[in-house]
Symmetry: D2
Amino acid sequence: MTLDLDHTSLRQGERIQPMRDVKFSAILGNFGTCSDRFVNKGYSEQKSLDELFRLAGDTPSLKGVELVGTQHIREDNIKEVKENFEKYNLQLASIIPDHFSKAEWGKGSFSSKNSKIRRRAIDVTKTMMDIAAELGCNKVSLWLGQDGFDYSFQGDYIEEREWITEGIRDCAKYRSDIKVCIEYKIKEPRTHSYINTVGTTLLIVNEIGLENVGVTLDVGHALNCYENVADSVAILKIYGDKLFHLHLNDNYRLWDDDMIVGSVHTIEYLELLFWLDKINYRGWYSMDLYPYREIGAKAVVESIKWIEKFFEVIDKIGRENIAAIIKSGDATRTSAMLRRGLIG
Amino acid sequence: MTLDLDHTSLRQGERIQPMRDVKFSAILGNFGTCSDRFVNKGYSEQKSLDELFRLAGDTPSLKGVELVGTQHIREDNIKEVKENFEKYNLQLASIIPDHFSKAEWGKGSFSSKNSKIRRRAIDVTKTMMDIAAELGCNKVSLWLGQDGFDYSFQGDYIEEREWITEGIRDCAKYRSDIKVCIEYKIKEPRTHSYINTVGTTLLIVNEIGLENVGVTLDVGHALNCYENVADSVAILKIYGDKLFHLHLNDNYRLWDDDMIVGSVHTIEYLELLFWLDKINYRGWYSMDLYPYREIGAKAVVESIKWIEKFFEVIDKIGRENIAAIIKSGDATRTSAMLRRGLIG
Amino acid sequence: MTLDLDHTSLRQGERIQPMRDVKFSAILGNFGTCSDRFVNKGYSEQKSLDELFRLAGDTPSLKGVELVGTQHIREDNIKEVKENFEKYNLQLASIIPDHFSKAEWGKGSFSSKNSKIRRRAIDVTKTMMDIAAELGCNKVSLWLGQDGFDYSFQGDYIEEREWITEGIRDCAKYRSDIKVCIEYKIKEPRTHSYINTVGTTLLIVNEIGLENVGVTLDVGHALNCYENVADSVAILKIYGDKLFHLHLNDNYRLWDDDMIVGSVHTIEYLELLFWLDKINYRGWYSMDLYPYREIGAKAVVESIKWIEKFFEVIDKIGRENIAAIIKSGDATRTSAMLRRGLIG
Amino acid sequence: MTLDLDHTSLRQGERIQPMRDVKFSAILGNFGTCSDRFVNKGYSEQKSLDELFRLAGDTPSLKGVELVGTQHIREDNIKEVKENFEKYNLQLASIIPDHFSKAEWGKGSFSSKNSKIRRRAIDVTKTMMDIAAELGCNKVSLWLGQDGFDYSFQGDYIEEREWITEGIRDCAKYRSDIKVCIEYKIKEPRTHSYINTVGTTLLIVNEIGLENVGVTLDVGHALNCYENVADSVAILKIYGDKLFHLHLNDNYRLWDDDMIVGSVHTIEYLELLFWLDKINYRGWYSMDLYPYREIGAKAVVESIKWIEKFFEVIDKIGRENIAAIIKSGDATRTSAMLRRGLIG
């Protein structure tokens, strides 16, 4: 029993849908300290890997974590990591190989003008794919943050884009049991990234043409390039059903502020969740925050709670009602629906 | 009885504050057709002045309207306008003199390089001040949309800013019983406006130094220059208690989309309303929409309803609780408070 | 010794480099008046079609014009238009069918929820393709400015994107001798367009999969979505060699200001022209300006002169030198090169 | 005949215009390594203070350096710093007290909710004022990067703004022989800064009302809040002649990229320099770069050379000609003037 949209009032006896089984995860670093270019040493104390895992393990609703190469997972600490996963009954959601945190990647990884660095970018990826498999996970998420350019006349856009495509294809062919998820972001740390929007990312994915290559959608990154994130989800559906992984956070649109989910965008998050269901997304809902001045664990908890509540709002309004409103295209009916669904 | 913030759960038996007496108004044109640079003739049929008034009169909760010079109010139709106000029991919230809709203002009004046009800008303002008084209203709201520049090396920033200050002072001195409210906007129709942000507007207001000169805050305009609009309200309080008038609408931050209130910004609107109360704003809450593809009257109704509901959320959480959370500066507590206040 | 500023004509004795054969054109409306949402009737007097053609004909270096449906070219004035082309020895660069200037398109053309309007959008396009052929031109440029959405929960992103793809495919199949060029723009007049970035446009183009379907790149539109426009040119080369047509103008990045070429972006324009040569672009260099407060013909002349001068700078530096600097990726060498090439 | 690109040094025989006596300086850190939130340890090796000074001393045209508290200047290294100034014949342009690089400032300095931290912010400032005096310099430049807020409902905008005003007033009164220059920036590291635009900064400066309190204008920061930087210079002139200090760099408008001067904005820089002369600015032209992936010293050299060349262009056109064009307000004449002045 859902909203009566002809009168847009809530009907008596309204039934709330039971929450579906959403798989929440978080990048492990969300529980630790954050640096920026001014405070290099971090806004709080460094935490050990075990401590980070303990905090993740204590987080209600959290079923998985993502690990970042170099920082959390290396060839030399696999056993330690494995034990932590077991101890806290957590799953590995994905590994994010490190192509961005060392000075050697400063002028690019897969698209570096230096062929040795390009080679290393591929090798690092394959190593992380192997480790992922060993840890019972079928995903790596590539964020090529250093691949791009800062100044005009600095990048050879054709050659360097081709290197990226070839390099990722090489990795994806290495083992088809691991999904390679490409995460786009329009800028930072470079002033311009090569893998920048949903469109150019899909062009690369489709040129590679392998089943195990898809996209990691980071909600904040989509907002940064003025994408309507629900539309980005739809686009990923249309052109190959390529939404493989999802990073969640919030921001003020102009920069990747990596804030608590729901702290800025209410309506867009409601629409996003509706569309994730509509395209039948069944992957992780993974938090990717930079809680510089907050207690990271609390920021993760808050983010998850907002998502749970947003799903309740969607359930309360009813998906058929939403679908009917979309068909009408009438913004004033949408407005009424959202207001009542949200506030009452 | 309000939120228990130590546990951030809603207490049983929660009391909802009765709505305060908010004075809603709307610019009369909100009920009519809208043009843009591609559809010059408007997205819907033109409506007569009487029809616009009838629609305003039929709008629940609406107590006032704002009139735009040339379009709605001229020396030749004062009587007709007066009759409409009486017929529909509406008040005049303010007059917005026309300094922007005719080609003659194209290169500026108060700051035109042509002294005759500057003179005319002043005369038009004084005329509208007289008419406002005659119609029982004590406000004109000046939006100098054409005063600015498009290209580098086009404006004499010092001289032209001085002309604006002198011109507005001249008007304000003309009759101290009418408040002259200056509305800022960072751009459009010029690529750069002179009266662009809350700060530069207050500099002008304070340089003029007259009690009847203050500011019209347009929420969308504040968003467009990356102001946090609640902060803009606070700034207007600090530097002379100069928030005289308020225009409400919503947008995607990068352009003055003039959308239905609440359609994009939920959290910011909640914060804005809290701060409006905190500084004891008692003026109009006036809708300034461009419902290009919507039925204007419905867009106004929706906007008012969102505001009423946002006030309910504020009441539900409780102002003391909000104040306490602000004192803590803890974003995760804020997050919990908003989520519970908003969704439950 | 300073510049003679009283005459905007070239000084006597000034040496002009032998230009490569760049084909300059302009949208005919550039020579006329411009409206915006505040000045609906235009910032200057309306001009007749014949007058617009005369002004275009008088413009040095201009070889072609683009016509906009409804405004400049209709089934009822083909003969008149043809005579003007002959009289002024101009070529038709492209026709831009009208999918945006009438209220009927307000909620979309190819993606309208109304099947009759979708049908009409296709019919209008085919008619314009026929007229283009009759006028000796092999291009139409589709700008679906009304196809998109303003509010969340308003668009059915999957179905409506499919309608666009199908509709354009239908048109392109209608006659393979006419190139269908799709022009992207991230927003305006809708807050969000479906055909928004170089990436999503290429996804559509490649899904249609016909040789005569490609892209119109508007420099200002690329700037609006934080594309590096030279990179956009490269992307269009990589994914199918799909740069079919080019619109030139300038802006302050955040809005489609449609200013004189070179009035804001110097370095980006140099890089763009370098890359247009590099990918061997041989199409039109077509001005798409909105000279609201300028004499349109002068704005076009200025734009063309900037492009000619920018090419001189490229020539002076030397393409091999530029290529070598790009290979180095050294921003300080780039800086020195540009400074010397530009200023000396 | 093309440019010799192998040497970024000036070609033999190249004529340099007699430059007016521009005083160039740079923040000392420009010669060192840069970190960001991903590469915490820096994109290159750390350099010692002596090495940084040596690089500054070797930079042609550089007459001064700015020092950042904690990083370059502390109570315990004054002697070492003094020796370096003497050894390299450099002047201290200003000290930037550290209110931003330590975790303790993370939630604000002058506006911290913690009164002890507010006290410390004032003390640190006074100490740096004393050291500046001791080193023969009459300026400190305050950048309160951590003073602001990230989330809605986090800041008490009235109280915290008052604390800033009181704190800076306290410092300025401490010794009137030292100028206190307030640098604004709209965001970063906080999502919203209190001292954000030229307007709000002047409101604070004027409320403090002391002769030795003024503004540091950072060109990049002005671009970030869509100010036309030449206009910002004019505004600083109008409201108290408060342009005390100047930071130079470049960016893509949406973020503080801190790039080489002239690498993005050509026209705006020309206009800026014209207006700096016009208001008779005689202070430092100080570079504030983050050359993450460049050799810092080269980035500084390039920046200075661009400024020198931009002044040559201004000289070539002639200030009277520019003034006349501004009076005309004719964008097409401006365009012609700039093109000829710049390219020929």
